[in-house]
C-alpha cells in the first residue's frame, strides 16, 4: 500500500511517500532526515499526539492553568482527554511539571501542569 504523509516533526514539513504492508513500512521517500522514517511508521500504525489543554485553578491570580500530556498519546484519545481535563479544578500553588491526572485514561501517561502559579 502507498500513502502520502507530511512529517510533523519539524517546520520543514517534508512530504513523505510511504510504501507499507499490513505490519511494516517497506519504503519512505521524501524525508530530509531519519526522523521522517520513524514518523511514517508511527503515523501509519499507531498515530500519537501530545495533547495540550487547560484545567480550572482556584486561589491563584489566573483562572485557568495550562496542562499537557507528558508524552504523546494515541491520537484518538485526544478529545476524551480534553473532556476529562475540563472537569478538573486544582488549587494553587502549582508548579510546572506537577501531575494533574495520573495515568490519564489508562494511557500510562500523566497529564502535567505546564505553568507555575503562586497562591493569590
Amino acid at each position: 500500500m502507498k500513502k502520502e504523509l507530511i512529517c510533523i516533526n519539524c517546520p520543514m514539513g517534508c512530504s513523505l511517500e510511504v510504501t507499507y504492508d499490513a505490519e511494516k513500512i517497506i519504503e519512505v521517500k521524501g524525508n530530509d532526515c531519519a526522523r521522517g522514517k520513524d514518523y511514517a511508521a508511527k503515523e501509519i500504525f499507531h498515530p500519537e499526539r501530545i495533547v495540550t489543554t487547560t484545567v480550572c485553578v482556584k486561589g491563584a491570580p489566573i483562572v485557568v492553568l495550562p496542562v499537557k500530556t507528558e508524552k504523546s498519546v494515541p491520537k484518538g484519545l485526544a478529545f476524551k482527554i480534553v473532556q476529562a481535563a475540563s472537569k478538573i479544578t486544582v488549587n494553587a500553588p502549582v508548579k510546572a511539571g506537577d501531575v494533574i491526572i495520573r495515568n490519564v485514561l489508562g494511557t500510562g501517561v500523566n497529564l502535567i501542569a505546564s505553568r507555575t502559579v503562586e497562591r493569590d
Binding site: 514539513g13 489543554t53 495550562p66 478529545f79 480534553v82 505546564s114
Partner: protein
C-alpha cells in the same frame, strides 16, 4: 524608586528577557525590564500548545514552559522587572534616553537609561486592516484574542467557527476549538498556498477533517446581533467570483488569522525609521535602530515563527548593547544588504566589513529546488541547495566575516536550471 539605568528594556516576552540575560552575561548589571501585563512571558503565556524550544533546548515545550525557563533565569540573576507598567514615550536627550512610564502602583515615572531595547512584540491584523464587507455583528475576533480568551480566561469564543486566514495562530486555534467540542467549519485563505507551517496543516486541520479553501475569500458577513453566516467566494487572480460561484457557511464566530504587525507606535514616536517590508525598525548589524542608543529585537523587529529564533536574536541584541555601553562604538565601513531574486526582505539593513553578521530573510513565495546564494559584488560567500522554501519559514544564516573589499551583500534564491 531608582530611576536611572544603563539599560531599559520594554517588553518581558522572550525577546526582552533574552536581551536582559545577555546584557548581564556581558557585564551590564544595571537593567530594568518593564511590561504592561501582570506577569512576564509575553505572548508565550497564551500559546499553551507544544512546539517551542526544539532548537534551543532540544525539547518540545509549551509556550508557558519556554517562558518559565527565561523567567527563572532572570529572577536568579536578580534582574528587575517592573510589571503593570506601560512605556508611553521615549525621548532622546544628550547622553541618555528618557522613557515615560505609566505604572499601576507607581504612577507616571520618567526613567533615564543609556540604552533602550525595544522588545514590544507584535499585534494582530484585524478586520479594519483587511476591510471585509458586510454587517458588523458580534462574534468576529482575531485568532490570537480567541486564544487569550480560551487559554487565559477560560471562555471559548463560540460553537460554530469559520477561520479567515491560514496563519499558524488560526490553525492552532482550529485544533484547540475542535478538541473543546466546537465545530470548525472551514479555513479560508486568499493565497494559493497556506500561510502557516505544513505541520500545523496536518495536526490542526487534517486530524479533524477541517477543509482548507485556498484562493478563496470572505465576500460578505451576515447577521444582526451575532454573526450568522459568511459568504465565501473563490478568487480568480485576486478577483472574487460572481455571486453564483459563491457559497455560504453558517457560523456563530469568525476568527481572523490574517497576519501580525510589529507593535511600533512607540518606536515611531522615538523617531525610529521603519522598513516597509518588515514593518519593524531598520537596524544595523548590531541591531541598533536609526536612533543612536535604541536597539530592537524579537517580533517588534521582524515577525518570527519560532520563539527559539527570538531568543537567539535577543542574545545578539543584548551583546551589542553591552558593547555599546562600554564604549565600543567605532564602526568599520558599512555596506548595504540587498534583496535578490525571490527574497522579500533581508535584515539587518547593513553590515560592517571584516565582521560577523547574522542575516534573516524570507522568500516571497514557495518554491522548490532552488539554490540560496549570498554574494558580494565580487565573490560568492554561500551557495546552498534548498529543496523547498516557504514564506512561512524564516531563514537565518551566520556569515562569519564580510570581505573587506565588499561594496554590498545580496541574498537571492536562484532556480537550479540557471
Amino acid at each position: 524608586m531608582k530611576l536611572n539605568f544603563d539599560a531599559l528594556i520594554i517588553g518581558a516576552g522572550p525577546a526582552g528577557l533574552g536581551a536582559a540575560l545577555s546584557l548581564k552575561e556581558n557585564g551590564i548589571d544595571d537593567i530594568l525590564i518593564v511590561d504592561r501585563e501582570d506577569s512576564p512571558g509575553g505572548i508565550l503565556l497564551q500559546c499553551i500548545h507544544n512546539g517551542f524550544g526544539l532548537h534551543r533546548f532540544k525539547e518540545e515545550l509549551t509556550g508557558p514552559e519556554y517562558a518559565e525557563r527565561d523567567i527563572n533565569l532572570v529572577r536568579e540573576r536578580n534582574i528587575d522587572i517592573l510589571l503593570n507598567t506601560c512605556a508611553l514615550d521615549i525621548i532622546s536627550e544628550e547622553n541618555h534616553k528618557t522613557v515615560v512610564l505609566l505604572s499601576e502602583d507607581k504612577g507616571l515615572l520618567r526613567a533615564k537609561a543609556k540604552v533602550v531595547i525595544l522588545a514590544m512584540g507584535c499585534r494582530e491584523r484585524n478586520r479594519g486592516n483587511i476591510a471585509i464587507p458586510g454587517a458588523r455583528p458580534a462574534g468576529i475576533l482575531t485568532a490570537g484574542f480567541a486564544q487569550k480568551m480560551m487559554n487565559m480566561l477560560g471562555h471559548p469564543p463560540g460553537n460554530e467557527i469559520v477561520i479567515l486566514g491560514s496563519g499558524d495562530i488560526g490553525l492552532i486555534m482550529a485544533r484547540r476549538l475542535s478538541w473543546e467540542g466546537a465545530r470548525v467549519k472551514a479555513v479560508i485563505e486568499a493565497q494559493a498556498y497556506p500561510g502557516g507551517l505544513n505541520r500545523n496543516i496536518v495536526q490542526c486541520l487534517h486530524d479533524f477533517d477541517i477543509p482548507l479553501y485556498l484562493s478563496h475569500t470572505i465576500s460578505n458577513i451576515l447577521g444582526a446581533k451575532r454573526i450568522e453566516s459568511v459568504e465565501v467566494a473563490p478568487l480568480d487572480h485576486g478577483v472574487p467570483a460572481k455571486p453564483e460561484g459563491r457559497f455560504s457557511l453558517a457560523c456563530d464566530t469568525l476568527l481572523l488569522s490574517v497576519g501580525l504587525i510589529p507593535e511600533n507606535e512607540l518606536s515611531l514616536k522615538a523617531g525610529v525609521i521603519l522598513d516597509p517590508a518588515t514593518r519593524g525598525a531598520v537596524v544595523d548589524a548590531n541591531l541598533m535602530t536609526s536612533v543612536e542608543g535604541i536597539f530592537a529585537c524579537g517580533n517588534v523587529l521582524q515577525v518570527h515563527d519560532l520563539a527559539d529564533n527570538v531568543s537567539e536574536e535577543a542574545a545578539c541584541c543584548g551583546k551589542s548593547a553591552a558593547r555599546y555601553l562600554v564604549g565600543e562604538r567605532v564602526k568599520k565601513r558599512e555596506i548595504p544588504l540587498k534583496t535578490g531574486n525571490l527574497v522579500r526582505y533581508v535584515l539587518p539593513a547593513c553590515a560592517e566589513v571584516g565582521k560577523e553578521v547574522i542575516v534573516s530573510f524570507r522568500p516571497i513565495s514557495p518554491a522548490q529546488n532552488v539554490t540560496l546564494v549570498i554574494k558580494t559584488d565580487t565573490e560568492e560567500l554561500l551557495r546552498k541547495k534548498e529543496r523547498k522554501i516557504f514564506p512561512s519559514i524564516m531563514h537565518r544564516i551566520n556569515l562569519k566575516q564580510i570581505p573587506e573589499n565588499a561594496a554590498y551583500l545580496e541574498v537571492s534564491f536562484v532556480s537550479e536550471e540557471k
